[in-house]
């Protein structure tokens, strides 16, 4: 058995280009998709990725004065009035925003350019900035009124993104929203988007923002992280067809006869292919995840348990693709033609990848597609990865893993049935 495995691996290592494509292609695609859709050079420490314009309409001091005037008219004790106006001197809503802008964490992601509205708009259309944060006239006044006196509607901060609205713009929006929520500035956020629905609904990686915390209870996920998993599960499928195809070009017909003549059970050949497929998938995903984490800094796990979960999912998925490799080998041998591996790698992989959410996040697919995707091995694996890395527990991923194992058993039984045993006298 070991000799079969060793032979398969040896053969595989002979074709360096093919091996490189299998192992590195998902990495390349992950980076491309992660960056193209993300637009964020996320993770790199110097990482200034996009500029945003900051437009402050109106005058803070005037607003403060106006507010103090109003406080004076109030039928409350003078002591209280003095306290309020003291507080207002030391705390101004806009300062919260500028403080955040001046923080190191924020500057790692965004470069803030203060400018007037006209300049900002032209910078946006020239794509010099990816978004504008507009502090409207009366912002300080309205915000203070809402915060201190619980009066009025509060104010709105306006985040304007352009036609070319990139992912970083949406992160920026999210950041502002988080600030508002956290500090309860008595303000809402109004989004003015030139174009709708082009921004995937990812959340930014909170670790980039230091102590600013995400508003969701799930851990946020960066596009790089998403595509690391998405491309990983997709390219693993290619390993299956590559192994089967290797068997074909290796002229198994003749070699296989030798194996039968040696008195070895022909099933050895099949198991060799299945196990080497499995190993290769595992290695492929480990390489992908390692490089993605270390070099692209796509995501980080807090502790060993979380990594163990990723390893477990990878292992179960590798087994299931091993069975796919065995099935394709069986069919190829039975049909004595490599057409099935061609069809598989040329079409079926793409369909499975689409259904499973490797191209477009599942949440953005029509429901029946994501239901179908829930039955593909890659879809199941991707779901498990996403759930697990968002901090959902083992209970969440267990059903997917069980489904994957059931899938494996079914596929293995089919491949055993198809496997051409009639050659044995």
């Amino acid at each position: 058995m070991w000799s079969f495995l060793k032979k398969d691996i040896l053969v595989l290592f002979r074709d360096k280009t093919e091996l490189a494509v299998l192992l590195l292609m998902p990495l390349v695609l992950t980076s491309i998709l992660g960056f193209a859709l993300g637009g964020v050079m996320s993770g790199s420490t110097e990482g200034i990725s996009s500029s945003v314009a900051f437009v402050q309409k109106g005058q803070t001091e005037q607003d403060v004065k106006r507010f103090k005037e109003e406080v004076k008219q109030l039928p409350i004790p003078d002591e209280a009035k003095a306290q309020i106006s003291e507080a207002v001197d030391s705390f101004q809503p806009v300062n919260v925003i500028t403080d955040v802008f001046n923080s190191d964490e924020f500057n790692e992601m965004f470069q803030i350019k203060s400018m007037n509205e006209t300049d900002a708009l032209s910078a946006l259309s020239n794509e010099e900035v990816s978004a504008i944060l507009i502090v409207p006239e009366d912002f300080t006044y309205e915000a203070l009124r809402k915060m201190v006196l619980e009066q009025g509607e509060g104010s709105e901060l306006i985040v304007q993104t352009g036609d070319h609205s990139s992912f970083s713009a949406s992160i920026f929006e999210d950041v502002i929203e988080i600030i508002i929520n956290q500090l309860n500035l008595g303000s809402a956020i109004a989004k003015e988007t030139g174009e709708e629905g082009v921004v995937p609904s990812f959340e930014n990686d909170s670790s980039e923002l230091g102590d600013v915390q995400s508003v969701t209870d799930k851990k946020p996920m960066s596009p790089l992280q998403y595509y690391t998993f998405a491309m990983g599960v997709m390219f693993a499928l290619y390993v299956g067809s590559t192994m089967a195809h290797k068997g074909y070009v290796e002229n198994f017909q003749n070699v296989f006869n030798r194996i039968i003549l040696s008195g070895k059970h022909p099933m050895m050949y099949l198991s060799g292919k299945g196990i080497s497929t499995m190993l290769l998938v595992f290695i492929q995903l480990v390489i992908l995840f390692t490089i993605s984490v270390l070099v692209l800094r796509s995501f980080m796990m807090d502790d060993i348990i979380e990594w163990a979960g990723i390893a477990l999912i990878t292992f179960v998925y590798a087994i299931s693709i091993g069975s796919v490799g065995a099935l394709l080998t069986s069919i190829t041998m039975r049909a004595n033609s490599s057409s099935i591996t061609g069809v598989f790698s040329g079409g079926i992989v793409s369909i499975l990848a689409f259904l499973g959410g490797s191209f477009v996040p599942k949440t953005q697919l029509p429901e029946f597609i994501s239901v179908l995707g829930g039955w593909t091995p890659n879809g199941l694996a991707l779901t498990s990865y996403l759930q697990w890395s968002q901090g959902l527990g083992f209970d969440f991923i267990l059903p997917s893993l069980i489904k994957l194992l059931i899938f494996t058993i079914i596929i293995l039984s089919i491949s055993l049935m198809i496997f051409p045993r009639k050659r044995v006298v």
Binding site: S3, F4, K6, K7, L10, V11, R14, D15, E250, N251, Q253, N254, V255, N257, R258, I259, I260, L261, S262, G263, K264, M268, K422, R423, V424, V425
Partner: protein
């Protein structure tokens, strides 16, 4: 030791092997001669338990191998017609893999590998990938793999097809040595009658799935002992002359060759005069004339009316 009994294989409507009866005795070398599609490979596959016969049986020491194939597999070395090797691996890696699946291990395996490499003369090139080998070298490694487990019988399916004369000589010499020095029993398939003539003690001639003649080379050619072959070369083709020769009843067979004609005539029937006369009448210029004793090729031609290689 090994025999086939009315061995038959039908593929759809195509009868690839039809009631083939042949046997091999310990230490002899037997040739299976026939043109493309004669059914040689089919017969060999059935003997080596890789193909189930439609009917008939293969017997090893009197026992059917169909019910119990492992016994014969152990003693059989099969050299397939196609190169059955991993082209991406080196000769050494191939030998290691196939040696291991035959249950050889460690030092014993290494020793055996070097031994067979020596036999096929590829010790120097053992580390090179098979795909970088010449056609002849691939054939030789293909044979080496079949020798690893020290088989008693070696079955070779056209081991010299499509290679240069030098490699071919090497292989033929190697087979001869295996038989004479190691006492191996050889079943050798070919459509080159020279090879079979040179190597084999006994010969089966197959055509259209049937064994049409069998015996030693002498026995087979003696089928034609009452005939002789006359080869006449001309400066150019003379169709009229061929026509007239064909009409002549004392000439048994006329075939056109590249440079002239080949005639089969009853032995001692003095046809040379007739040929000269006809040639004169047609103003045909004879460039050479040659009277031959029959070859296996002639036997085949005689039996089937066709040449071994078309």
């Amino acid at each position: 030791m090994l025999e086939t009994v009315n061995l038959k294989k039908v593929f759809k409507q195509n009868v690839a092997a039809d009631d083939v009866n042949l046997y091999l005795d310990q230490g002899e070398s037997v040739g299976l001669l026939g043109p493309n599609g004669a059914g040689k490979s089919t017969t060999i596959s059935m003997i080596s338990t890789l193909l189930r016969p439609t009917s008939g049986d293969v017997k090893w020491h009197g026992k059917s191998v169909i019910k119990n194939p492992n016994e014969i597999r152990d003693v059989l070395g099969v050299v397939p017609q196609e190169i059955a090797l991993y082209k991406e691996l080196s000769a050494l890696e191939n030998l290691k893999f196939f040696g291991k699946i035959y249950g050889l291990k460690g030092k014993q395996l290494d020793k055996k590998i070097q031994e067979v490499l020596e036999i096929v003369g590829l010790t120097e090139r053992q580390k090179d990938l098979v795909k970088t080998y010449s056609g002849g070298m691939k054939r030789r490694i293909n044979i080496a793999v079949a020798l690893l487990h020290e088989p008693v019988i070696i079955i070779m399916d056209e081991p010299t097809v499509g290679i240069d004369p030098q490699s071919r000589n090497y292989i033929l010499e190697m087979v001869r040595q295996l038989k004479e020095e190691k006492g191996m029993t050889v079943l050798y398939t070919s459509h080159y009658m020279e090879e079979v003539e040179r190597l084999c003690d006994r010969i089966y001639i197959m055509d259209h799935g049937k064994v049409i003649a069998t015996g030693t080379k002498e026995e087979l050619t003696s089928i034609l002992s009452s005939e002789e072959t006359i080869i006449v070369d001309f400066d150019r083709p003379y169709p009229n002359l061929v026509n007239k020769l064909e009409k002549n009843e004392s000439i048994l067979q006329v075939t056109e060759t590249d440079n002239g004609i080949k005639l089969i005539v009853p032995k001692g029937s003095r046809q040379l005069g007739t040929i000269f006369n006809l040639a004169e009448k047609e103003e045909a210029q004879i460039t050479s004339i040659n009277v031959q004793v029959p070859t296996l090729e002639d036997v085949f031609l005689h039996l089937t009316g066709r040449k071994l290689r078309d």
